[in-house]
């Protein structure tokens, strides 16, 4: 009973982490803003930072999601329907970009499109300065900066390709071959179009829907990629982050507060709509699963063309990351370790990469120390409710713990900045607030991982413990915890990785302070105008460190993740 009490308390704390700052922040902004909520939404477009932000966010979200599907589905098909040696490794390489921190992706693409040394410049494509063929496209006047837009779209595709592969490949791979053969001899499946209509489309529709919506959510709320690759454009997320500092202060910046109010409501509405659609789509996915995992004996060896396509995509997946590593050893035209040596340098009095690493490690360790017990408690509460037949209550609690997934990082940061820091400035030192933000963003994932492990754990083990006379505490310590060791390792790795790479919330709370995290320091060094030739290689060296740590954590997750465990995402 007492243990269940602690579990309930952990669940309440986890849910409050988002709800309290968000509601306090909203109340504060409503009080300070010079407009009503309705007016704030209608007038959201009237600031240089917010002009066309809604249209741009929707446009970039929808087009990125469509293009990612166009590129990702054939790759998923190639992976699923052919026999490949080392398939696990290939899959890991192709899905690795998704776990990379967004700042590393941004830095990788900046290296890819670098007009002086980037590989695209060598083949005459200048997406940065928009000269040559891209310049010709710009002169057509269809879009102001077509090069920047192309770079952003490619970066979004690169980043989200893993989603399409992870979600679509299992259905394609495990489709029962007998089912295809059965359809071939029926009128509805004699033609390719018939099979497409009656088999492949119904089979893939849920995966396509889920991939589209998840990619849309990612790109709609894109911040650091837009900031670095398309600096002249603003998504709502970026507008909120840029304007957030002035919001919620009485007697100051009332128009900014109105913009933040309108933008937040718009952003939340779109994100919640997308997440509800996703939930509906994923519930449909379950009805498709019985079609799969029986006989799949028709997988054939790939021909040269298919090998070439997959090879190109593997290169596409690793190239930006390799460029980051190479760039960290390059000063202008020559190879050097100066970038790595400059990691301790505080350029123009700012924070050094080394300081950033220390801060990030500190925050991620605190996040995992606090996040793991919270996640365990919340997952246990949901699991206990499910096992005791209270399914409806379990769904409600489950949904509450997932709420942060429908809220962008910048809104989490704004909630903490306006709702907590500006409301109770003496109670919360600013340097601690990012941990709060990291917990909000990371715990929904860690809860899913632990809960998934708990659901798969045979209840007989704990019952055996009970009939052997073990108290609940002993059953948890001696049976449940060791059996869920894999889930705990994966959850810890996820919290650390998410905390290390988190950008949006930290940027709102910490930019310009001495406690900047590593992604923020990299961002600052990449955007700071400077004649010092080591500043960029130093940022790339920091990105390399972040990339390698993330990679190690990703491999840890893959190593410990059980077969068939998707961790809920």
């Amino acid at each position: 009973m007492r243990i269940n009490y602690w579990y309930s308390l952990a669940t309440i704390i986890q849910c409050s982490l988002l709800i309290i700052p968000l509601s306090l922040g909203l109340m504060k902004i409503v009080n300070v803003a010079d407009e009503s909520i309705f007016e704030a939404i209608l007038n959201f477009d009237e600031h240089p930072f917010t002009q066309d932000a809604l249209l741009f966010s929707l446009g970039i979200g929808i087009s990125s999601a469509c293009l990612t599907l166009v590129v990702g589905l054939p790759i998923a098909w190639i992976l699923a329907r052919y026999k490949w040696p080392k398939i696990k490794l290939i899959r890991a390489v192709l899905t690795m970009p998704f776990v990379m921190p967004s700042i590393v992706v941004a830095v990788g693409f900046l290296s890819l499109i670098d007009p002086d040394n980037g590989p695209l410049a060598y083949i005459g494509i200048d997406l940065r300065r928009e000269t040559g063929i891209i310049g010709t496209v710009r002169d057509l006047g269809i879009y102001e900066h077509p090069g920047h837009l192309i770079a952003l779209l490619i970066a979004h595709i690169w980043f989200n390709l893993a989603l399409v592969i992870r979600l679509s490949e299992p259905s394609l791979r495990d489709l029962d071959s007998d089912r295809i053969d059965q359809l071939r001899v029926l009128p509805g499946g004699r033609s390719r179009i018939g099979r497409l209509r009656n088999l492949w489309w119904p089979l893939l529709r849920p995966a396509i829907g889920a991939s589209f919506l998840l990619t849309f959510v990612q790109c709609f709320s894109s911040f650091v990629l837009v900031r670095q690759l398309m600096p002249e454009s603003f998504t709502i997320e970026r507008s909120l982050a840029e304007l957030g500092g002035a919001a919620g202060i009485s007697g100051y910046g009332a128009p900014d507060s109105s913009m933040v109010l309108g933008g937040s409501i718009l952003q939340l509405s779109v994100m919640i709509f997308a997440m509800l659609s996703l939930s509906l789509t994923q519930s449909r996915q379950r009805t498709v699963e019985p079609m799969t995992r029986m006989n799949n004996h028709d997988h054939k060896s790939p021909n040269s063309f298919v090998i070439l396509i997959l090879g190109l995509f593997i290169i596409f997946s690793v190239l930006p990351l390799i460029l980051v590593i190479l760039g960290s050893f390059q000063i202008q035209e020559s190879w050097s370790l100066a970038g790595w040596e400059a990691m301790e340098e505080r350029f123009q009095g700012g924070t050094s990469i080394f300081d950033g690493i220390q801060t990030s490690i500190f925050y991620s360790l605190i996040a995992v120390l606090l996040g793991l017990p919270l996640s365990w408690g919340a997952a246990s509460t949901i699991d206990n409710l499910e096992r005791s037949g209270k399914e409806k209550t379990a769904v409600v609690v489950d949904t509450m713990t997932l709420l942060p997934l429908g809220v962008s990082a910048a809104i989490v940061g704004l909630g903490l900045l306006v709702g907590v820091q500006k409301t109770i400035p003496t109670l919360f030192a600013s340097s601690w607030l990012p941990v709060w933000g990291h917990l909000v963003i990371a715990t929904p994932f860690s809860i899913r991982v632990i809960l998934s492990g708990m659901r798969r754990l045979d209840p007989g083990y704990m019952e055996t413990g009970a009939t052997l006379g073990l108290k609940k505490r002993d059953r948890i310590l001696r049976i449940q915890l060791p059996l869920l060791r894999g889930s705990i390792v994966v959850a810890s790795a996820l919290i650390i990785a998410i905390s290390l790479g988190e950008f949006g919330a930290s940027w709102v709370l910490l930019r310009g302070t001495e406690s900047m995290t590593l992604p923020l320091v990299i961002d600052a060094q990449m955007t700071r105008p400077s004649f010092d030739p080591t500043i960029r290689p130093s940022a790339l060296a920091g990105s390399t460190v972040l990339m390698i740590v993330t990679l190690v954590l990703f491999l840890t997750v893959e190593r410990w993740r059980d077969e068939g465990d998707d961790g809920g995402f």
């Binding site: 019952e463 055996t464 009939t467 052997l468 006379g469 059996l483």
Partner: protein, 207 residues
């Protein structure tokens, strides 16, 4: 030696009655077999007696002490499941140790001897056969010194020759310890080999 009395037990799931008014008692040191077809509620009844399933009405008593409200871990009733459910993160020794309140090395050695698995202490559980695993499950349950032992078709996953051998061995062990036991099974021969008394689930007293 403990006598167990089950009186007027009724189990409900929501408003649906899943087990109705079962009453019986087993004298101390006796072994009873409860026969019935699959899905008739035998396992549910055992789980209720063990305290793993709440009951809507009725009582479970051990030597006239009402234990109905006592949680499973304090009830003193052991349960061997259909599958051995050995902890995969522990070796054989660790699994047997789980049955002890205080660590007693000698006791584990004697138990390993008793279940015929001397020298198996350091084996991993995935290196054991089905019969060996079930023996460990029995040993583990006995090390907890239960006042009554419940066995939920523990031989059903074994082949027929092993089933006969193992059930005889377990009967010997229970006899040597004079442990009161209830076995549920759908196999009449097994019930005969195991028990002093056999009862059909449908014939349990219904009031």
């Amino acid at each position: 030696m403990t006598e167990i009395q089950v009186k007027n037990i009724m189990l409900k799931h929501g408003s649906k009655v899943i087990l109705e008014c079962c009453s019986f008692d087993v004298k101390s040191g006796d072994r009873m077999a409860l026969l019935g077809p699959s899905g008739c509620g035998k396992t549910t009844l055992l789980r209720a007696i063990a305290g793993l399933h709440g009951i809507s009405s009725g009582t479970v008593s051990l030597d006239s002490d009402d234990v109905t409200e006592i949680p499973a871990e304090k009830r003193g009733i052991g349960l061997i499941f259909q599958r051995p459910l050995l902890m995969p993160h522990l070796d054989v020794w660790g699994n047997l140790r789980l049955g002890q309140k205080r660590y007693n090395e000698e006791e584990i050695r004697i138990m390993l001897d008793l279940i015929g698995l001397n020298g198996f202490g350091s084996r991993k559980v995935d290196q054991l056969s089905g019969g060996e695993s079930q023996r460990i499950a029995v040993g583990r349950a006995l090390l907890a010194k239960p006042r009554v032992l419940l066995l939920d078709e523990p031989f059903s996953n074994l082949d027929s020759s092993l089933r006969i051998r193992l059930s005889k061995d377990i009967v010997q062990i229970l006899e040597s310890r004079n442990t009161t036991a209830i076995l549920v099974t759908h196999d009449g021969d097994e019930a005969e080999r195991f028990s002093h008394i056999s009862m059909n689930f449908e014939d349990l007293e219904k009031k």
